[in-house]
Amino acid sequence: MDTTAQQEFRRDQAEPARRRKSLRATLALCLGGLQFVAILSVTLSSFVSSENALLRQSRNSLNEVSVNVISQVKSFLNPARQALDATRRLAENDVLDINDTAALESHFFQQLQVAPQLAGIYLADDTGRFVYVMRSEEPGRYRTKVIPPFPFGSTEHPADYQWRNDRFTLLETSDTLTDTYEARSRPWFRMVTEAKAPIWTQPYIFYTTRQPGITYGVPVLDEAGGIRAILGVDIQIDALSGFLLDIWSERRGAALVLNEDGAVLAHPTLVLIQQGADFDNLELPRVNEIDDPLARKAFGTGSQTGMAGVAGPVHTDFELNGQDYVAMLIEVSEPGLRWLIGLYAAEDNFIGEIKKSRVQGIWIAFSIAILTGAIGLALADRIYAPVRSFASQTRRVSSGEITPEEGLRSPYRELEDTGAALAQEVRQRQRFETAYGRTFDLASRGMAQIAPDTGRFLRVNEQLCDIMGYPPDALEKMTLAETLPEDGQQIAVKFRETLLQDSEFIAENQFIRRDGSTIWLRVNAILIRDENGVPDHAVAIIDDVSDRKQAEDEASRLSRDLSHVARVNLMGEMASGLAHELNQPLSAISYNVDAAKITLEEIGDPDPELTQILSDIDRQSRRAGDIIRALRDVVRKDRGRQSPFELGGLIRQTVILMEAEAREHDITLVYHKSDLPLVTGNRTQIAQVLVNLLRNAIDALTRDPGDGGQITISTQVTEAQVEVRVADNGPGVSDDVTLFNTFDTQKSDGMGLGLSICRTIVKANGGTIWHEPTDASGACFCFTLHRSDRPEEDA
């Protein structure tokens, strides 16, 4: 087997891989994926939006806390200020005599009792007088300190102390001469003196209680506007820290109260403020100094640069140790006072739950996605099931296992519609295949499906089996090559090569039948490819052309015979013509010799030598005559034996022989076939007559070419004879030619023997030949042959 063709075939089979998606997988993927994406997007969007909402919420919470703290701070500061402002007004209106120390003490005592945040309240003037009521521990709850006026600058001066209980009952007194307190040098005194208006001091650690506090100072003015005295109140703000601790205890965060310098006034962890404070340093620690990393982180940066400029709430976020925090800074608006409330809190305080629920949500979403994915798969399977069933039905219908009516049902209308269309298609195809099969089986010609690569018969019809002489099942196990003779194997190779080039295969060759006899078959095949272009099978139409081949063989045999007969006839006719032409002079010689001999005798005493010469001449002339006669006799004897034969077949074969020559000159040969009886004669000689007449007609038509040259051969049967007419539509016979005469011709290159031979032959076969003038142009030659009553003998 030819390897090139094989490879080619394999390559044809190798189909480019095509990506095909399973409907089921697609459905499942789409359903599950869609579900997943939907859940995820809903979850995430709610997640994001809730986070944003909660961040807002956290800020709101911080705001709320800050408001709370602010109000608390104010509630701390306002009573003190109101108390002091009221005292001032009393003093300025002389309702309260500020020079009356007892009244002052009583008044201050009442004020302290009303406002628990007040640590102490006092009055000082520029004489150095100082009246001070403050809270105490032992021996009484309240202690009064009175310093009488003393000169500014003295280091020591006397002072009286009185301790009272809640009911203002004097419990104990004490005095000292070495008191060192100088009110006039205190910051609040200096600030009020300078401002002549109420002031708040910087917060600081109270010397006595070691608690953070702040002092509010107001001047008591006289009518002229001069300062009569200065009232002050110490507000202990440690309780603020306690409050901060209270309101923030459960949160991971803190609220701070800062002043504008960044000093921490209140912190949930009070000790943080108190730490570092001693008698030398009563200042409050700054926020970036306290032991609160969160506070430092949240507000430290601001405190370094100062808190000035902070008015409305300022929100910041920060992260410490992997924890997110939110922070806020807001001003406390109090006349003469600029405090800031700082708040920070872990983000989790607000969105921790959310975060937790978010993780939970993701897990839930994931679970739901898996669940719904599984449901989607199941659903896809349910959706796909009819499709799968439909596909299986389609396969079975297509393979013919079931009829379209039985299958191709589906709950889906679209599929059912498709099914209906498919069913129709299948029915049509089945009809076609049935028709094809019937055509195949009932064809009058041999048909076969043949594997193009191996040449194996895949399917054969009865006619082919008849032709080949094999039963179908035997033939279908064979290959084309096996039916070919050994010297015809190249046909099988050519078959494969031609078909794989998608060319039509046409060949006539001898094949071997089952009984070993040879048969001429004409094989005509084309290649059928399947829908993917892969060679599937070849369809071959196979005809038995043995008869035609035989006819062609007979025609060619006739042609061979004819050429022999033509030679013989030509020679015979020439001999005959020569004999006539030569006989005349030979006769003359013979007569003259005879006359000469007589003349010689008349002279008397003839010369014997001369007599001998004349006798020799006479003998030689006779010899020449004998040679010619012998030649003519030889030719005559070769006229062949006559026997009955079928004239119609002979005419057909002659036409076959001459058709090519006629076609060459665009001449049509027409033979009106009719049933002819057997005629007697020499078959080959009669063929020669036909050939000569046809050739004459062709020559005539070619000499004078016109449109549609045509030669018509017709026959007519009479009682004893059959008449054959060869008519052409050429120029006809010219007048100056004697037809049938030897050496007389109309042709430029002819010998003038054709018709002469025809005449000789027809005469020898007992018939006559003549030219029949016709009305139309052209020549018409006729000859007759005797009918034969004897059956045709086998040659």
Binding site: A579, H580, Q584, S587, D594, A595, I598, T599
Partner: protein, 205 residues
């Protein structure tokens, strides 16, 4: 009847052949007359020519067979010897059927021809004698009247019914009249019995 010598007529289109043959035959003491074609022979030779004719079979114009046919229709007494350059059996058969005494194929031995000529001369004289006899009878018959000829016709065509009565009923005349006519016929033709009359005219029918 006459002392005219018998003549050998030669008709052949080939001058050389004709002249050679004429010369050869003349040398043998024969009277020879040659013609180049059939028409010249017909023009130059009368119907009463005596001797024989050596005729070439194939000639242009009127060919040998046609000339033979012509002479037969003229009731010629010239026996014909055909000679042919390419004569075949069919030609010789046709010629012989039409009365030719021989058909020679060229080239032939001259002695054979001379032999044939001598034979032909004898045949010719017989033919001439027969012809003369026929002419004599015809002359005698021409003397008969119309009615006598009718009676003779009846006798010749109905040899079994020759009684006067039968002839009379046939011709619608009286038997007596038939007797008279019969007597006249015998007198004119010169026979004595009805048998003689029949033998004389019978073959001519």
């Amino acid at each position: 009847m006459t002392s005219d010598p018998l003549t050998v007529f030669i008709v052949d289109d080939d001058d050389d052949v004709r002249i050679a043959l004429s010369r050869s035959l003349s040398k043998r003491g024969m009277q020879v007359e040659g013609f180049g074609d059939a028409q010249a022979f017909l023009d130059g030779v009368g119907e009463d020519a005596r001797g024989c004719l050596i005729l070439d079979y194939g000639m242009p114009g009127m060919d040998g067979l046609e000339l033979q046919d012509h002479l037969v229709r003229q009731d010629s007494t010239l026996p014909i010897i055909f000679v042919s350059g390419h004569g075949g059996i069919p030609e010789s058969v046709r010629a012989t059927k039409a009365g030719a005494i021989d058909f020679l194929e060229k080239p032939f031995d001259l002695s054979v021809l001379i032999e044939r000529i001598e034979a032909a001369m004898d045949i010719g004289s017989q033919l001439r004698a027969a012809k003369a006899h026929r002419q004599e009878l015809a002359e005698k018959r021409s003397l008969l009247t119309e009615r006598e000829e009718q009676v003779l016709q009846h006798i010749l065509t109905h040899p079994a019914r020759t009684s006067s009565k039968e002839i009379a009923s046939e011709l619608g005349i009286s038997p007596r009249t038939v007797e008279i006519h019969r007597g006249r016929i015998q007198q004119k033709v010169g026979v004595k019995t009805m048998i003689e009359l029949y033998e004389l005219f019978g073959p001519m029918q």
